[in-house]
């Protein structure tokens, strides 16, 4: 694709677009963006009106402007569907109302009138989903249901597991790291429970404050580690005596060469009580000592690892599964303070959705609307801190939270907002290595990168490109691939470069694993109706938050110049649960551009609501494939490809080549044997064709 003229693509795109426009029959109707920026909903260009949504889809948009005084009249007579909560005198930080039940601080108002008066309705209902999973209706009035919506809601409400089966009583889904934030009812239960059992322990807090991290020692290495520390302690003690130093600190001052060892011993000494504090805290929080794994005090064993992982998931901590800085910091905070942070995170997604915004401060050229609006909403909702949030949840029980919208006035949005924004994406591959990452003996050869890949969303304003968001992403690299002889080889699976478009955006996408996918990754263990068995790994295939495509994907394609089918090399920009592949130095994909699920959701929700599109809905497919693993045939059955939105016109994408590092200046196209593997005699089988010879390679095969 390198060097293909962009103008040709544009012309071809226009041909296809014209065809699509004519064939478009359905339009997205889902929940419209509420007002943002204080403009009345009746203004001619309702800025957050979802692209492709006929004006008739928004009855409120036809209303005449309403005065604020009129909109704020108490209307306690209205049904939950028609009302919104307005907080009259929000408490200030540290001034939680003396009487948590005090109803005079809040009132129900008419939701439509509030919108007409320029308020934004932030939806706090338990059945809220991001736009991509919202209920859509076709032009014929028929619902276009999304298969994954029910599971998404079940997961957010701690009612279903990832397969859509009922969650055991008392079990929790901690899925913020994977893009699914807890519902307000789940958070309410957390607040109320933690008020009763706050796990407050000053001794614990002091022990945790004394350390930044807790060193990981593998259970198998404990004795070796202890011997090593004992030797150092003995060495230091000898030196201290010889120098007549009063303390180890004194020793370190007088003999700087030993300072590092002194620091190590002191750090490890402080970590012991910290580890005990972590154990107490995790036990109190119900994360340790509840599973079948037995925990041995002081040891970072499987039970501890699992508990820490759940803690990180509960508090949305992007860290490896150890007691690192952010994890220890969160462990040292009070439960209610952590709950408040969870509430802020959940509300942030609701505010972003209500205002249909994206700018999150990841680029310095535009305002950080996400932060600004979230703060404004929290202030107007009277939720400046944990006590006020607790009071709010005491006033509003599960019945209220079934359907609850709050009216807030948000600051004006920038002028570049409009119903059809000229959006485009640029992916910069950053530093790219084509060299094989190991030598003949299988020793790993580091491939340092200073510039990591990034994905930027631009809006063209007055002929200039304005970056709205700029996030780290992934590009492809060397991955294991299964050849036709059934053996695994290494293969470079790069990311295509050059101009592309996104025509299709799929929520709850399904990844059709190519036949070269290593079989071992397509099988997982699961207890099925009381029996442990191997099954097809549908977590990986989707739809679901763990899927290879995450919760949403945009498909990069090259439009056909003859008006035929798009050329699709399998590269997507999609959500991912594998956040370490995005943020770690050695993280690569199979060619796709991964984003954390919650950012991918924000990105595509924004795009769908600010460009013309049609909702095609569920895409049934009935795909099956059998494969063999040991003595069992596994049959993959995929009933749907996902829920399709079609951008019309498609959105331009450009993938920049980046800086080619190392000796190899072109990607290696064939299979490379893994030095640690044994293979049948002869050369490797030929690798299947990957469309783009410039480094592209069917990232995910679909």
């Amino acid at each position: 694709m390198r060097g293909r003229p962009w103008s040709g693509l544009a012309i071809a795109g226009l041909v296809v677009i014209a065809g699509c426009r004519e064939s478009a029959q359905l339009h997205g109707e889902g929940p419209p963006a509420s007002n943002a920026g204080g403009r009345p909903a009746s203004s001619a260009a309702a800025p957050a009106s979802p692209a492709g949504t006929p004006t008739a889809a928004r009855p409120a948009a036809l209303r005449a402007p309403v005065s604020e005084a009129e909109a704020l009249k108490p209307r306690s007579d209205l049904l939950p569907e028609r009302r919104a909560l307005f907080v009259v005198a929000p408490p200030q930080p540290g001034q939680a109302p003396a009487n948590p039940q005090a109803p005079q601080q809040e009132r129900w108002i008419d939701a439509d009138e509030a919108e007409a008066a320029g308020f934004t309705l932030v939806d706090l209902s338990d059945d809220w989903t991001p736009y991509i999973f919202a209920e859509q209706v076709g032009a014929d009035g028929q619902p276009l249901s999304n298969r994954y919506r029910r599971i998404f809601l079940g997961l957010a409400n701690d009612q279903l597991d990832e397969d859509g089966e009922p969650l055991a009583a008392g079990s929790k889904n901690y899925l913020e790291l994977y893009g699914i934030f807890p519902s307000l009812s789940v958070l309410r239960a957390r607040f109320l429970a933690d008020e009763q059992h706050p796990c407050l322990d000053q001794e614990n807090a002091d022990a945790l404050d004394a350390v930044e991290t807790v060193t990981y020692v593998a259970p198998a290495d404990l004795k070796k580690d202890e011997r090593h520390l004992s030797r150092i302690r003995a060495e230091l003690e000898d030196a201290r005596r010889k120098l007549h130093a009063a303390t180890l600190d004194d020793l370190a001052t007088r003999q700087p060469a030993l300072a590092a060892k002194v620091k190590l011993v002191e750090k490890r000494a402080a970590e012991k009580p910290a580890m005990a504090a972590v154990e107490k805290r995790l036990t109190c929080e119900g994360l340790l000592g509840t599973g079948k794994n037995h925990h041995q005090p002081g040891i970072y064993d499987d039970a501890m690892r699992l508990a820490v992982r759940n803690f990180q998931r509960k508090h949305m901590i992007y860290e490896a599964n150890f007691l690192r800085r952010k994890t220890v910091e969160a462990l040292s905070r009070s439960l209610l303070d952590n709950d408040y942070d969870a509430l802020v995170r959940a509300l942030r997604e609701r505010v972003v959705s209500a205002a249909a915004i994206l700018e999150d401060g990841s680029t310095s050229k535009v305002r950080n609307l996400v932060d600004e609006y979230t703060k404004a909403a929290l202030a107007q909702m009277g939720l400046p801190d944990a006590p006020s949030a607790l009071a709010f949840f005491k006033r509003h029980g599960p019945d209220d939270l079934k359907r609850l919208r709050v009216a807030v006035k948000l600051p004006p949005r920038p002028d570049y907002y409009g119903p059809e924004m000229d959006l485009s994406i640029v992916v910069d591959r950053g530093d790219v290595w084509y060299d094989v990452p190991f030598d003949d003996k299988g020793h790993y050869k580091p491939q340092a990168r200073k510039k990591y890949p990034s994905l930027t969303l631009y809006d063209r304003v007055g002929g200039k490109l304005v970056a709205l968001s700029h996030w780290r992403t992934t590009i492809g690299g060397w991955r294991a691939d299964q050849a036709s002889n059934g053996y695994e080889y290494f293969r470079y699976k790069g990311s295509d470069i050059g101009p592309r478009v996104i025509r299709h955006v799929v929520s709850g996408p399904v990844w059709i694993a190519p036949t070269s996918t290593p079989i071992r990754s397509l099988i997982k263990g699961k207890i099925v109706n009381g029996k442990w068995m191997g099954i097809v790994n549908y977590d990986e295939l989707g739809p679901g938050f763990l899927s290879a495509y995450g919760l949403i994907a945009g498909y990069f394609v090259v439009p056909s110049q003859s008006g035929g089918k798009d050329w699709d090399n399998g590269v997507r920009a999609h959500g991912s649960s594998d956040y370490l592949s995005i943020y770690s130095a050695n993280g690569y994909s199979h060619g796709c551009h991964r984003l954390p699920n919650h950012l991918a959701i924000r990105l595509y929700s924004f795009i769908l609501r600010h460009r013309h599109m049609r909702v095609a809905g569920d895409q049934p497919m009935g795909f099956t494939r059998q494969f063999l693993q040991k003595n069992t045939v596994y049959e993959m059955r995929i009933p749907s490809r996902g829920y399709l939105y079609e951008l019309d016109p498609p959105m331009p994408v450009n993938v920049l080549e980046g800086n080619i590092m190392g000796d190899q200046k072109k990607p290696v196209l064939g299979y490379v044997p893994e030095p640690w593997n044994k293979y049948p005699p002869g050369p490797p089988p030929p690798a299947p064709e990957s469309g783009d010879k410039a480094g592209g390679g069917s990232c995910c095969g679909d």
Partner: protein, 173 residues
Amino acid sequence: MRIPALLSRFAPRGRVRVGRLPGAAWLIAGLTIGAFAVAAAVAAPDAGRPPLPIDVAAPNPPLDQAPAATVRIVITIIPSAKKAMVFWGKKRLGIVAPHAPLVVQRPRDSGPLDLIVRSDGYIPVQTRAYTFGDSKLSVKLTPLDQKNTLLGFREELPPPDGGAPGEPDGGTP
């Protein structure tokens, strides 16, 4: 998968109702359904629309038609002349007899069923049935001696010595 969630699967959650049609009834039922299907295809205004794939229920039932509380899953095997047992975890759901499908009823949207289909002389198949709507599940069985036709089959590596004679004879060629 969380362990508590897994344990919950031990608890009963809606019974599986299983039925099996005898051979003759299957033939009559098939003819009847076929006749109705032809009539319906002629009468339907969208008869020209391509049919949905076999395993997929229509995702959007008409508004005025409330979906049934349960779904019906019809399990057949290929070759149909064989007999197979179908397991859902530790429970044996029933038998697919020669030319007689196994019919299972489940609550709608109650999550997928991960099944194992076993038949003498064939490799067991792990497959999945969905509960979005009524569906047919046709499972292809592969004879044990045809393993090498399946994706993922690996030829055994030759022995490390490559088949060379075990003992050198000490002579020179």
